[in-house]
């Protein structure tokens, strides 16, 4: 072994701890506030506050929280609403974002200005978006009813009727969400070389054929990514029902995250909220496993 190699090796062992030093602050925080809570979710779901003479006590109750949950019609209603919501909103947002991406990718004059305008809903926080739409969708003096009045459609109870409320929430969340996912599609579309598209045009493919046989397959990864990431985010969507409807009317917009909040922080039932969180975690793990498999497939 030469002297240089020895020195290199010595350097190595003395510096082994350096990367851990760089990781220490981030991982103490990650461990404490992201990983520990995941483990604590399971613990919390097995405990409950029991009220006794000496005040509320945090006690081990086994699977009692889950037993209460499956017997709780409010919970099942919430599951049903969340499933319907997810089945509608995720494909809708993905398809609309792809469409908007194609539109924003057109090479016409002034396209940069339009792209900036389309970025505005991304910049405005979801809370503010929902407050504005709450007034826009008001059944008495809201602007959407004002626009419908121009074509003689009677006033609609957008947020006040069971038949309308969930769809209104989907619409508002879509107004806010689509521009965000469009960013990914636009980036993907800009990565497709123009020569490929031009070659297809020379071969006599029309716009629809080019889209179907060239653009769409090349965007497959982006579509999958957006669909999965959107699904994850929408499973824990909280602000729109909280701000627009408070979960009503008749719990028709009581998404699972809102139900978790109500149980855990309004009714003090942390055990019940923990049990719902376990369910949400399980759903997340399934979706994330799919995402990881996708990532692996892309790397190889």
């Amino acid at each position: 072994m030469t002297g240089t190699q020895l020195r290199a090796r010595g350097l190595r062992s003395r510096e082994d701890w350096i990367p851990y030093l760089f990781l220490l602050p981030a991982f103490s925080l990650l461990l404490m506030f992201r990983i520990l809570p995941v483990l604590a979710t399971f613990r919390e779901s097995l405990y409950s506050y029991i009220f006794s003479a000496s005040g509320p006590q945090h006690m081990f109750v086994g699977l009692d929280n889950f037993r209460r949950l499956v017997q709780d019609p409010v919970f099942w209603k919430s599951v049903k609403v969340t499933m319907l919501f997810s089945l509608v909103i995720n494909p809708t947002q993905t398809a609309l974002a792809l469409g908007l991406g194609l539109l924003a990718n057109q090479r016409v004059r002034g396209i940069r200005l339009f792209r900036s305008i389309y970025l505005l809903p991304v910049a405005v926080s979801l809370n503010i978006v929902c407050l504005i739409w709450r007034l826009m969708l008001d059944s008495n003096f809201g602007m959407i009813n004002g626009i419908l009045a121009l074509v003689h459609i009677p006033r609609q109870p957008f947020l006040g009727a069971e038949s309308h409320a969930l769809w209104s929430i989907i619409a508002v969340a879509t107004w806010k969400g689509v521009p965000y996912w469009t960013i990914f599609f636009l980036a993907g579309l800009q990565g497709i070389s123009r020569s490929v598209l031009e070659a297809a045009a020379i071969d006599g493919a029309n716009a629809w054929q080019t889209f179907l046989h060239i653009t769409l397959p090349l965007l497959r990864q982006v579509i999958l990514f957006v669909l999965v990431a959107d699904t994850i985010i929408n499973f824990v969507l909280f602000i729109p029902p909280f701000v627009l409807t408070g979960g009503g009317p008749q719990l028709s917009t009581n998404l699972l995250m809102l139900e978790t909040y109500r149980k855990g922080f309004l009714y003090g039932d942390t055990g019940g909220a923990g049990a719902i969180s376990v369910l949400l975690l399980a759903i997340m793990v399934v979706i994330i496993t799919i995402e990881f498999t996708m990532l692996r497939a892309r790397e190889t």
């Binding site: 926080s125 809370n127 407050l131």
Partner: protein, 285 residues
Amino acid sequence: MKTATIYFLLFLVAAMVLVPLLWAISASLTPLDKVFANVYPFSWRALVPLDFTWEAYRNIFQGQSHTAESVAPQPGFGKPVLTTLILALGTVIFGGLTCASAGFAFARFNFRGKSLLFSLVLLSFMMPMEVTIVPLFVIVSRLGWVNTWQGIWVPGLVHGMVIFLFRQFFSEFPQDLIDAARVDGASWPRILGSIVLPLSMPVLISAGLILFLYQWDAFLWPLVVAPGKDLRLVQVAISLSVQEHQTLWNELMAGSMIAALIPILLILPFQRHYVQGITGSGLKE
């Protein structure tokens, strides 16, 4: 597609985006009794503040109103704005440094447990914080941090997505520059601080924007961990003012416009960095 069709669609979507925002701006600059004028049936006049006044903005910042029950959370809207700005800037600085040094370790070193630790980073940015909000609250309350700024701020300092961004950027940093500094005897923290970071402006801007917006837009966590009046952040203050005082719509929209303006002013000039930041984390592994 014909150019005319393209423009028709471009303008249609632009109108769908702009009409609610224009109405909100207009409502915030209108006296209370005129907020819903021209809205039903709708006329373009609703989108222009015809009876222009700064009244709503004055009221929310002075914490007083022309009606008895003021919409502005006392003492005025200035306090939540200032609190949120300070916390968000703190998140950018301390969160940025924390994530940058972790990203540096992943990009530049080989060490035992690297792939396991990196998987945890990926997992933490795929798993939304909301899922674990109940136990997170229990942990933070055991620390005695309920209704404190630490409680709001510390759990949001580290972001898997931002660590990931830094790792991507630092992986492409020229090795020569690092080697030269090593030869000159610079320590590793010094290499990160005075050689790598100053040459990493694009990723610093992207990461800074993501961290700032995260804290500025934070809603559920501040609502849960700091429900008291003293530490209300922008989003929570506005939202709760609706529940407490139903009818002062112009002031509600004025507060909303302040809350919206700051992110817009940050994102629009740095569009490219913001876009590269969020797409870089999702697409280019």
